[in-house]
Amino acid sequence: MSEKPAAPAPAAGRAAMKKELPEHFKAYRHVWVFVELERGHVHPVSWELIGEGRKLADKLGVELAGVVMGAPGAGTLEAAAEAFAYGADLVYLVEHETLGDYRNEPYAKALTDLVGTHKPEILLLGATTLGRDLAGAVATTLATGLTADCTELAVDADKSLAATRPTFGGSLLCTIYTLNFRPQMATVRPRVMAMPERREGRTGRVVPFTPDLEESAILTKLLSFMPDRTSAKNNLAHADVVVAGGLGLQSAENLQLVRRLAGAMGAEFGCSRPLVQKGWMPADRQIGQTGKTIRPKLYIAAGISGAIQHRVGVDGADTIVAINTDANAPIMAFAHLAIVTDAIRLLPALAEAVTRRFSPHSRDRIAG
């Protein structure tokens, strides 16, 4: 590439070829999952990653470790116990007064030092505001590769981490490797991986780690924390039934039809990304790669084409229903049921039909 202007041939760099790992990387073994503990509460994405990390560790024949950080006594031991219940073999317990509320400086330093001491081969974090903030800082300090928002993780034939994420453009996926650097780092969004089974009474080793931190050396101070009102938060990521609208609905007013059907079904509602960009729906209703990942029993997509960034957010749904005027829309490749018709006309009728059939107050209810 130094001789010739780069053509867009991805695998042309030096890093593209797997070489014999440099000596100082050979000690890097084991799979780690950063357990995101804040205010005594573990983010569920951490358990989803423990489930995924378990598979990778088994494939590699190495141990799976959870990394729990926090102020002493602030839910750290409980988090460690849960990590074992979900499948970790050991937990690195990193406790320090400065690790109370999340701040980048002490967390990044503690995690970087822990990696330097105990050397994981793979390090996974949730793609949350905390996880992304931390992962970017740690990967840069370690000068290693970091792949964001993966939708699939695997170990390939020569034991490298193959991290797959949707790529730029709309209907493609790409698999990214970090061949010659350690650790191999990736973030995964909440709800992309399934929740693993929890085994009561399963235990493991706790390895304490004392980070070299001092409050006086930390430039950033937390002045206050205002928790979200839980009533203000939607339950999209955990809803059993979700109704969503896309550009096919053609106007902000027509989104009422989606809200109304969702209301009739006791469901949550959402939308594709362009509607958020147009300001037709708030950002926390966006479903997909850069919005929420959902795993409902029933997902109804009205006027949504099904671009890859949308698809990866709904692939975990049990039954996907597409309402679309185009029988060849990409969504037809992953929907279970499709009806080729005008959603603007069908949605009101569907709301009525749902009420007629399933509402306990309706006389002629047919229960399945």
């Binding site: 980048n104 903030d133 970017g136 990967a139 928002d149 002045l223």
Partner: protein, 283 residues
């Protein structure tokens, strides 16, 4: 007060199409825009400058055509623009990009004035990684403040900055010392139109253009593909489901079609009838 804002020129993603047969991205004719998330950071930088005095420098790494996006930022009111462009940068991943940009920011500091705040976009709409901002902060040894929804106070005399940060489950109010790196959340301010004077100045403005060497990058192996630890091994279309979607026949009468659709849903998963009845009853 000197503020540096990192921006990126990106294709307007809403208009990108993938070739249905070859699975390649069709970029021809797709207009380029300033990454929308960057504009919230630019606006915040301009507000701070308007209030506290000083200058805003925008910087980007990209192809020569990225001058257009820099010029756009000048029309909004930025004072100066720097383009970092070199074939050595082609194929950079986030680590290599943060290296090149951090070098350029150091050079901007030497050439003009060291920045008090570096702003970056929350993420880009083409890569969406949210990694470059934190990467630059680490390389420059700056405190990073990501997902900021409000700049509460900036005291240049005391050298402090107070912000509200969106965290998981709540909002943090944080105070830190300047210099630092900030990425703003989307939708937290409204991007100005810019004045006619700004537009005239932007049209005439000379945009500083640096090659890798001019930006002080001696080791180009840390840039571009060679400086990128991540490697794209494979690009592919997702496999379709084994079974194709079952299609519900359409009569054209919405009421009948709605019933047919519900029949099909319940036929596929009988348990959904009970689930729906429970949900509706509880609603």
């Amino acid at each position: 007060m000197h503020i540096v804002v990192c921006i990126k020129q990106v294709p307007d993603s809403a208009q990108i199409r993938v070739h249905p047969v070859t699975n390649t991205i069709m970029r021809q004719g797709v207009p380029s825009i300033v990454n929308p998330y960057d504009l919230f950071s630019l606006e915040e930088a301009l507000r701070l400058r308007d209030r506290l005095g000083g200058a805003v420098t925008v910087v980007t790494m990209g192809p020569p055509s990225a001058v257009e996006s820099l010029r756009k930022c000048l029309t909004y009111g930025a004072d100066r623009a720097v383009l970092l462009t070199d074939r050595f940068f082609a194929g950079s991943d986030t680590l290599a990009t943060s290296y090149a940009l951090s070098k350029a920011i150091e050079k901007i500091g030497a050439a003009f004035c060291a920045p008090d705040i570096v702003f970056a976009g929350k993420q880009t709409i083409d890569g969406d990684t949210a990694q470059v901002g934190p990467g630059i902060a680490r390389r420059l040894g700056l405190v990073q403040l990501t997902y900021i929804q409000k700049v509460v106070a900036c005291d240049t005399a005391a050298g402090t900055l107070t912000v509200e940060r969106r965290a998981e489950g709540g909002t943090q109010t944080l105070a830190t010392r300047l210099p630092c790196l900030v990425t703003m959340l989307e939708g937290v301010n409204e991007i100005r139109r810019g004045t006619i004077q700004d537009a005239l100045r932007a049209a005439r403005a000379e945009i500083v253009t640096w090659s890798a060497a001019e930006a002080g990058i001696e080791d180009v192996t840390r840039c571009g593909l060679r400086g990128s630890p991540t490697v794209v091994k494979r690009v592919f279309a997702p496999p379709p489901r084994a079974e194709k979607a079952a299609t519900v026949d359409v009569s054209g009468r919405p009421a009948a079609d709605a019933d047919a659709l519900l029949d099909a849903v319940v036929a596929r998963r009988p348990a959904l009838a009970t689930d729906l009845a429970t949900l509706i009853a509880g609603y």
